[in-house]
Amino acid sequence: MTPSPPKGMTPLARREARLAWGLLAPTLISVAAVVVLPLLAVFWISFKPIGLADLRPPQVLIRESLRDRDGALTVEYRLRNSSQDVEIRNVVLTDTLPEGVRVAGALPGPCHLNDAGLICSFDSVPGGFRDRLRFAVEADDPEHAEELVELSEPQIRGTAPNVLTNLTFTTENFRKVFDGGQFLNVLGVTLFYTIFGTVGALVVGLMAALLLNKSFKGQGILRGLYLFPYVAPIIAVAFSWLILFDPFSGSANALLIQMGVTEEAINFFGEKPLALIMVTVFEIWRYFPLSFLFILARMQSIDSEMYEAADMDGASPFQKFWYLSLPQLLGILSVLFLLRFIWTFNKFDDIFLLTGGNAGTRTLTVDVYEQAFAISNIGAGAAVAVVIFLCLLLFSVFFFRVMSREEGL
């Protein structure tokens, strides 16, 4: 008989697992609340025909006033359906009449009085409904009647369909997203931006790392300096670039014109292909420090004896780079590539601040914002968000393949 492992957990193991879950719980709950729930919400909303204004379900708005028309006191309720086209059902208005104020004339049709006060019911209030309910009252103290009457706020209830929570769904949003050349265009721009931005940042970062991979005085300062673009607030650097490259009063143009590179000012962030190139260059500029940092860290962890062995083996500097450094860096480079790829794909602020998605720089993330907020079509925005999310899932699969090979980044 071959021995078999015992089933179940030992008491010590159970205690440890319980502690672990306890420690994880706050994080899990908060992350779920702010990441998982919103994600689900995005999926939900993407199937909803919903604009920003639809978030507030239609309701009946009411205003009460007491008019003194030539000595005759009249209470007036003005009712209004906040929506022009949605019907509100079972509308009931209730209000209490204050002490010393009595109904004097006939009540309007839907209303009646009981102990508590006035009740008016409507079966249904159609879209665009507006009405005034008036009735005469008499008061003991007409001077202060107005204050008294308006002190008691009228209450109104009614049920209206809420697009956000009801069960009407539509694929309209997705149809809109995929319709027309727009989507392919946006996708193309996104891919250009992502691929060149990522590769560029890696290559530039690699060069910077090669530059600083030796110890000399001031190396720390230079390293710190080269990290500035990444560490500074995005909004500050984005605006600096805009001002630097302003077509009319930017220093870059002035410099180029002065050096005779160009005759006319170039509208760096305003012209069709150039703007996309510029935002990509900005992306490279802003994120090369990160690749630089990682590559440098990896380089410094390469056993220096290996290079000494190569010295003994007679390898030249370029041979050392090509045959030794580069293969050793491949792992970190591929991990960086994938991570940066995903992050660049997700990038929003940079383009939003630089061009607002114009001049052919509208990426998927900018599209989310444009759809949801500029056009106030939340549903369409959510649909784009879903598309993004699905793309990312795809990348993540790749990512974990590579990651498991290059564990312990």
Binding site: D303, E305, E308, M312, D313, G314, A315, S316, L324, Q328
Partner: protein, 348 residues
């Protein structure tokens, strides 16, 4: 084809002198071991020969040619590093062939040489593995193979075995000894382990704080140490060093008795190795003591004897010795095997 000579070689790091003027001739085909305690400058000296560190002062000749300021690639030496320093992303074959590849040797020729070297080192079946898929000993063999392929003027080894476990170390030590017999090449071998030094070396160079303490064959070093430092460094368990005085053919232990000897006037200490002490009945030897710990090792047994003010004396007896801890014994020194040292630590 592989003589190396050092002339007044010095190494300074800023104001600190790490190698203090070394003169040494290494003959072609000789296996020389640099040994010494940690930090004494063994690696530095080796790396200076290899060209990985500059020589601050002095000259280095290899095969009669001055190489003092040539880069490593021009010296024609091969080095085996303590951490193996294999290229982790290359297969064993690529690792071994790399030096030829950088020199532009055609692929077929490289292959031939690599296979040849791999056969010598029994690595043939691992040629396509990556270093990380090899055991420590195999890696060390690849590192050696990489040197052999280059057919160098001389081999430099920097503590090649210190990352291996005890059993493997013994095995690899033997292999290196056999390799030396076979290749008949000049080898310089650095270690801090005196056992390795003793067992491998044609000649041992004992370094002490950047200076040569003694150069000689293992036997010379063991039997005629020229300084207390060498005497204590070579041999395990350590030589016992006891204060004494010598007058007219007689030595006299402080806090103990004495015996006959010849010469050695002016000595202040005598050295006696554990195996040159015999246990005799109380009062019969040069000094008395109480056995504090007995270490049984099978074939041998080490007695740590507490000899009062003389301190602890180590005695080696055979494994079936009946003495146990707490016994009161007397120790008799073999008069012919004693070493005597003066106040300056040199042998007299």
């Amino acid at each position: 084809m592989g003589g190396i000579s050092l002339r007044g070689v010095e190494k300074w790091y800023g104001d600190v002198q790490v190698i203090k003027g070394i003169d040494l001739e290494i003959a072609d085909g000789e296996l020389v071991v640099f040994v010494g305690p940690s930090g004494c400058g063994k690696s530095t000296l080796l790396r200076m020969i290899g060209g990985l560190e500059d020589i601050s002062r002095g000259a280095l000749e290899i095969d009669g040619v001055d190489m003092t300021s040539e880069p490593p690639s021009k010296r024609g030496l091969a080095m085996v590093f303590q951490s193996y320093a294999l290229y982790p992303h290359m297969s064993v074959a690529e690792n071994m062939g790399f030096s030829l590849k950088t020199a532009g040797v055609p692929a077929i020729e490289i292959e031939k040489q690599v296979v040849e070297a791999a056969e010598i080192l029994h690595l043939t079946e691992y040629l396509h593995r990556r270093p990380k898929d090899l055991s420590g000993g195999q890696r060390q063999r690849v590192a050696i193979g990489r040197s052999i392929v280059r057919d160098p003027t001389a081999f430099l080894f920097d503590e090649p075995l210190s990352n291996l476990d005890a059993a493997l170390r013994v095995g690899m030590r033997l292999e290196i000894a056999r390799l030396h017999q076979k290749l008949d090449a000049t080898m310089i071998y650095v270690t801090h382990d005196q056992v390795e030094a003793m067992t491998l070396a044609d000649r041992i160079v004992v370094l002490d704080y950047g200076q040569i303490a003694q150069v000689g064959t293992p036997k010379e070093l063991y039997e005629q140490p020229q300084t207390r430092f060498v005497a204590e460094f070579i041999g395990s368990p350590k030589m016992n060093i006891l204060p004494c005085s010598v007058t007219g053919g007689q030595y006299h232990l402080r806090w103990g008795r004495g015996g006959k000897t010849t010469g050695h006037d002016g000595a202040t200490h005598l050295g006696v190795r554990p195996e040159h002490i015999t246990v005799v009945s109380s009062g019969g030897g040069q000094c008395d003591g109480r056995v504090s710990v007995v270490e049984y090792l099978g074939a041998d047994c080490f007695l740590y004897v507490d000899a009062g003010r003389l301190g602890q004396i180590t005695v080696r007896t055979s494994g079936d010795s009946p003495i146990s801890a707490g016994a009161q014994i007397s120790l008799k020194f073999d008069a012919a095997k004693l070493s005597f040292f003066g106040a300056d630590g040199n042998a007299v």
